[in-house]
């Protein structure tokens, strides 16, 4: 049996941060702390790019919603740190039985919904029962192995799985794990009734979302009195807003525009890690990409270093698992940049005059497709780029698997399972990988599970099931007045509880 308390998890997260900071010293400095004292009445202004289409986090997928709502407005039993480590949230304490089947959570004291109602274990049970039984709710598939959810008493929740599932606890850190009031009638698309340290004040569609400090919060009160998220879809307009002093923090800064902010002297730039995998998918189920020689040739033809350089915010990634996920391993030994060998492989496969099409959602721009066209051209492959709207991509590529090559940024953490699912749009069907993944899922010890994942990931990369063009980084510009703004993974989670703004 292993047991982890909130404190322990916190310590391990801190230790991880320390290691990371020492490992990458010199690349990115943490935001400078202002000399001014934190102002408890201050409002933090944050510039974001993508506005949520609605606020119903139970039914709508998307980082734009999770990014601002989880941990700030809504809370789950557990949450994750910037480094994707799991820690308790509503639960002060949780235990997993030795067989990996029974999860026992103990709730913190004094938790209340924003309408004043106290949260009890019954609310957790009803929330999770909904996820388990309603297929329209986010995370329904992740609850497939849940056998029962019960509340032995008002502060304890017990979840029993039918088989061990290494991903289960992590899925509770996402929308599936959030706790809603039993029988709540709040219209979640535009309003909320969460338990978090902030409450939703106003949503001015197309422009801003504002939060205010929840004075009745059960935990530590927030460092700022309110937060205003400004949605600025245009990158240049975002930089202009920051330079004009409209926002104190600008997220997702375009790498090409970053120097403008840095030169102004009004902002410190941080580069944060993400689980964004820029995935060049090969249709493994369709000729000629069902031939591993063709897939390897395409990967050999790509100059990854030049690509990372051109993209401006990313690091090379040579396999399906990024650094922030369990099972990461440096797989740079698997592939190199070798156009000559690529040509040989293509000749061997009888594909000297190969023509392929690339389906790419239009919002990704032209940097990546242009480089791919020229790289592929050097080995005699003609690439025809088909830039489509995202819903068209979903229909053609994701649903109908009608494509040769595809490019999207897969941002979800721990999504390696897609390579163990032959029905996913990758069309990659390898029994050994599927077997290793199943083992990793049912392995109770997280370290052993990660080893199994690493082994599977190596096979996937050696099979050239796809190419991972780069692992995205996210650039954030932070005013020196602001302290404690998160750095990593902020495209999926911006936990603002510890952020302070100094008095000017």
């Amino acid at each position: 049996m292993f047991r982890r308390t909130r404190r322990l998890a916190l310590i391990s997260a801190l230790a991880a941060t320390a290691v990371i900071l020492s490992a990458c010293s010199g690349t990115a400095e943490p935001a400078a702390t202002s000399t001014g004292e934190p102002d408890a009445d201050a409002t933090l202004t944050v510039g974001l790019v993508l506005e949520p289409t609605n606020l119903d986090i139970r039914h709508t997928s998307g980082a734009a919603i999770e990014q601002i709502l989880i941990d700030n407005i809504y809370e789950g039993l557990v949450t994750r740190t910037q480094e994707n480590e799991i820690e308790g949230r509503l639960a002060s304490d949780y235990e997993v039985s030795a067989d990996g089947l029974t999860y026992t959570f103990t709730l913190n004291d004094g938790i209340a919904f924003h309408d004043g109602t106290a949260l009890t274990s019954a609310d957790v049970v009803s929330s999770y029962e909904t996820v388990r039984t309603d297929a329209t709710v986010q995370g329904n598939a992740e609850f497939a192995s849940v056998a029962s959810i019960t509340a032995p008493d008002a502060t304890t929740v017990e979840i029993v799985l039918s088989k061990p599932d290494q991903n289960f606890l992590f899925s509770l850190t996402g929308p599936a794990g959030l706790v809603f009031k039993t029988g709540d009638t709040t219209d979640l698309k535009t309003a909320e009734n969460g338990t978090g340290p902030f409450t939703l004040t106003r949503w001015n569609k197309g422009s801003t979302i504002t939060f205010a400090r929840n004075d009745a919060y059960w935990g530590e009160p927030t460092g700022v009195a309110g937060v205003e998220f400004q949605y600025i879809p245009d990158f240049t307009a975002g930089v202009n807003a920051a330079l004009a002093g409209d926002v104190q923090v600008l997220t997702a800064v375009d790498p090409n525009l970053a120097p403008q902010l840095e030169d102004s002297g009004d902002f410190t730039l941080t580069k944060g890690r993400t689980t964004d995998k820029a995935t060049l998918a090969f249709n493994n189920a369709k000729a000629p990409l069902d031939d591993v020689r063709v897939r390897e040739a395409l990967r050999l033809a790509i100059d990854h270093d030049a690509l990372v350089e051109a993209v401006g915010a990313g690091t090379p990634l040579y396999g399906p698992i990024p650094e922030l996920d369990p099972g990461y391993e440096d797989l740079s030994d698997v592939i190199s940049y070798d156009p000559e060998k690529a040509k040989e492989l293509l000749a061997e496969a009888g594909q000297e005059d190969l023509e392929l099409s690339l389906k790419i959602p239009s919002f990704y721009g032209t940097t990546v497709p242009k480089l791919l066209i020229s790289d592929f051209n050097k080995v005699g492959v003609t690439l025809d780029v088909d830039s489509v709207e995202f819903p068209t991509w979903l229909e053609d590529v994701y649903t109908n698997h009608d494509y040769d090559l595809s490019f999207v940024l897969h941002v979800e953490p721990r999504d390696f399972g897609n390579f163990a699912n032959p029905d996913y749009y990758f069309g990659y069907d390898n029994a050994e990988v599927q077997d290793l993944y199943t083992q990793a899922q049912s392995e109770v010890d997280p370290d052993k599970s990660a080893e199994l994942l690493a082994k599977a990931a190596r096979i996937v990369s050696e099979d050239h099931a796809a190419d991972w063009l780069y692992n995205g980084e996210t650039i954030t510009a932070v005013s020196p007045l602001v302290s404690g703004f998160p750095k990593d993974s902020i495209n999926s989670r911006i936990n603002l509880a510890g952020v302070t703004v100094a008095a000017e």
Partner: protein
């Protein structure tokens, strides 16, 4: 009729909102459940009658994505697009009428030819290009006006709001104005040849005065007709211009909604815009009757 065309055209687009909501980690069964709950699996005819039934009762429906009322959102976005359209129209008229008349008066002389050629060239300029040039000149070089965006405070800071709309309005206004100017010029020339203008001139007025006092009121009517038609052009222009200047107006909302396949919203928005153009046409007709006594009598 137009509602059927709008409804069916939108159904041709690949992809749907359920898939978009579910994202790239959802299983086909989850997407299907979502589709069912959104009512996307109902027969097309039911979806159409439900929608049009609501429209008849004055209910534009609710967005599939945000759950917000389409009518309310249209009203909100109209606060950017309608002032933009009015400003653009004003600028167009301010450019077209004086320069059009001037071009007519100077016909055959060097100045008149220059004006006509200039108008011809301006009218051929794509709106996007004109917009970018104006941004370069007024925002980048001169730094007088903001290049993009609309103040978050909206119309509670009217100065800033008008400042934000000035460049986009100028962009549409110049291009539309150039088109209108050619029309004003030819209408003025036509009036100059009319008997009553010549009579007025014979009674001792100079040719220019006769034209301005008697000729222009007569051609005013046809100019109003063309202006009515320009409204459709300005709506189309605003879709493009709102993208370029990142203005949170109806045009930008429409493009975003097509991108997310929020079809109920898109079809209601298109229907409202279509209705708006028809209403303008009707108003122009009414105006004709009020101004021109001959039309009243014949009717």
């Amino acid at each position: 009729m137009s509602s059927v065309v709008i409804f069916l055209t939108l159904r041709v687009f690949p992809g749907d909102v359920a898939q978009l909501i579910a994202g790239t980690q959802a299983s086909p069964s989850e997407v299907e459940a979502l589709r069912e709950s959104l009512g996307l699996n109902r027969p097309l005819i039911t979806q159409y009658t439900d929608w049009i039934g609501g429209i008849v009762r004055g209910d534009l429906g609710t967005s599939l994505l945000s759950g917000a009322s389409v009518g309310e959102e249209l009203f909100l976005k109209a606060q950017v697009t309608v002032p933009l359209g009015i400003m653009a129209l004003l600028i167009a008229v301010l450019i077209a009428v004086p320069f059009g008349i001037l071009a007519a008066l100077l016909r055959g002389r060097r100045g008149g030819t220059a004006l006509s050629v200039g108008a011809q060239a301006l009218a051929a300029v794509p709106v996007v290009w004109a917009g970018m040039m104006l941004i370069v000149v007024f925002s980048v070089w001169l730094g007088w006006l903001p290049p993009q965006g609309f103040p978050r405070t909206g119309w509670s800071t009217p100065g800033k709001a008008i400042e934000a709309l000035l460049l986009p309005a100028l962009t549409i206004g110049i291009v539309e104005g150039a088109m209108l100017m050619r029309f004003v010029r030819s209408a003025t020339l036509q009036a100059a040849g009319q008997d009553f203008v010549r009579t007025a001139a014979a009674k001792g007025l100079t040719r220019t005065r006769a034209l301005i006092l008697h000729g222009i009121p007569a051609v005013g009517l046809s100019i109003i007709t063309v202006l009515g038609l320009q409204v459709a052009g300005i709506i189309v222009g605003s879709v493009v211009i709102e993208q370029l200047f990142t203005l949170p107006g109806i045009g930008r909302m429409l493009v975003a909604d097509v991108g997310t396949r929020d079809l109920i919203k898109v079809q209601s928005e298109l229907l409202v815009l279509t209705g708006f153009v028809l209403v303008i046409g009707f108003l122009v007709d009414l105006l004709h009757r009020t101004i021109d006594p001959r039309q009243r009598e014949s009717a």
